[in-house]
Amino acid sequence: MMDISIVLPVLLPLMVAILLLFFWGKTQSQKWISVLGSMAVLGYNSWLFITVYTGSMLTMQAGNWEAPFGITLVADVFSVTMILLTSIAGVAVSIFSVGSISTARIRFGYFPILHLLLMGLNGAFLTGDIFNLYVWFEIIIIASFVLMTLGGGRAQLASAVNYVIMNLLASVIFLTAIAILYGIAGTLNMADLSIKVALIENRGLVNVTALLFFVGFGIKSAVFPLYFWLPSSYHTPPSAVAAIFGGLLTKVGVYALLRVFTLIFIPDSFLSTLLLAVAALTLVTGAFGALIQSNARKMLSYLIVCHIGFMMAGLAMYTDTALTGAAFYLIHDIIVKTNVFILLGLVFIMYGSFKMPDLGGLYADYPKLALVMALVLFSLVGIPPLSGFWPKLFLFEAAFDTQSYVMIGALIFASFITLVVIAKMWSQIFWKPNPNTLERIKHLPSFMELSWNRRAILISPLLLLTAVSLYIGIGAENIVKLSSQIANDLMDPSGYIEAVLGTKPQTP
């Protein structure tokens, strides 16, 4: 009898999406199903997380085909952490969508696509087969294309072009890399590849393949020379969509990089130098980009790029401490980035703009809410004891250990610029008196005139994610334990290989 508990994180969102299709056009019921469905997925994923975290790794061979031949699904601690975070972000975005997505968009299938996107994300995190990972990536991007363009005007369509083209190109490069990898190793199972690739004598060919994977995943996760599509497309879709994109889509690329470059291609001196350079340049250029923006969402898009650099830095330094930092940063970043985009969505609903010169006075108008938002922004900057601080501690320690002083400079620079940028945002949006330059919002109902439950729906995802990021910050001990276990698993993949193939790999 096959254990299906590991497929359910994929099947549940699919079933929710199918159920939603039966309620096509009935916006009210779709809202209920979407929220309850994403909560059910969160409940299940938490159970799976606890099972795997306290117990042992789960694997499933699809159709009972033996390991290197069939498609394998693997739930190790890293995977279940990622699906847990996905479903937390999923619940928050689902609730925020109920309050903020226009009825017209819901009528054209916003919610089913959102759940298909979540299904794709869960699938990508759970698969143990490199070609299957490609398929999940395609499911993610086709769902994200629809969310990106749905109901869009000129700006949204024009910026979607960059997004669509770059993602299609990334897929082709990923596919090319898989083709060459299959040609040289003759297998697609990631655990099996881990053994076989290490034995290949032609290291030049292996490095070329590794670089193709790096470019493919690098475009998706927006690292240094490949990130230009991100700031030019993330500022146009509705806030709820931007939240799920900013929080999760680039992180799938980071997850894939962490997986592939620890399991299949162990970085040699050439690759690790490249990774270090890319990480440092991502940190610096992302920070510079954020510095000159006046549109708050564009600024945050550059901050996404900048912060991808932190995770890349962890991978590049490749020690236990560094990977602990990277895993911790990943956990923190998914929650906080989703939250910041939701925060800006609230600002847009209140004042009708994302352009910082047109905004202001939030602190005077909504003092309590502004305090919560301050917590979110401080977590993003990484003021102790909030969540952004701890992973940086590990990354600095690792950088001193490996004596990568350039990296220390880049890390400090990026942290400092993040602080400057957020301070600018705080003074522009919260403290400056509102300039009242926007004529058109005067006849819109103000936020306080909205009905009580609409306001509750809009604020609750912010509160939920803030609570989670407070827990990550204050309960950092538990998260450190979790991330160091993830780092251990990544550094020593023999447990993963044994769980998938059923035999211990021989140590050469």
Partner: protein
């Protein structure tokens, strides 16, 4: 045969990248299609081409007696074709819509439009 396929794959990639570097939206899509086909051919080529020996065990024996063609590349290509078909269909519709809304198929102008908005 393998040499011929290798040359075809090279030409497809080169042509695809050349087309993607042009500024017209239509040429961009054509470039992507060429690249996708090139990738599929590459999987086929690297899956070791074996002529005329399907992976079927004869009825009278229990194991393969001679070299057989690897069936996996075909499964991969089939999957990749279906996926790229869907994505390309979407991309073409998007390009048409962008052309109608923005009024140009020059990528520079589309991007300028996005900057000013």
């Amino acid at each position: 045969m393998e040499l011929l396929l290798a040359i075809v794959v090279g030409i497809l990639y080169a042509a695809g990248i050349y087309m993607m570097l042009r500024r017209s939206l239509v040429k961009l899509i054509i470039g992507l299609i060429l690249l996708g086909n090139g990738a599929n051919m590459l999987i086929f080529l690297l899956g070791r081409i074996t002529k005329g020996s399907p992976p079927i065990i004869p009825a009278e024996s229990k194991v393969f007696l001679e070299a057989y063609a690897d069936p996996i590349p075909q499964a991969l290509i089939l999957t990749a074709i279906v996926i790229s078909f869907g994505l390309q269909a979407f991309a073409i519709v998007l390009m048409k819509r962008v052309y109608q809304v923005v009024g140009t198929d020059d990528i520079d102008q589309v991007n300028n439009m996005e900057e000013t908005l």
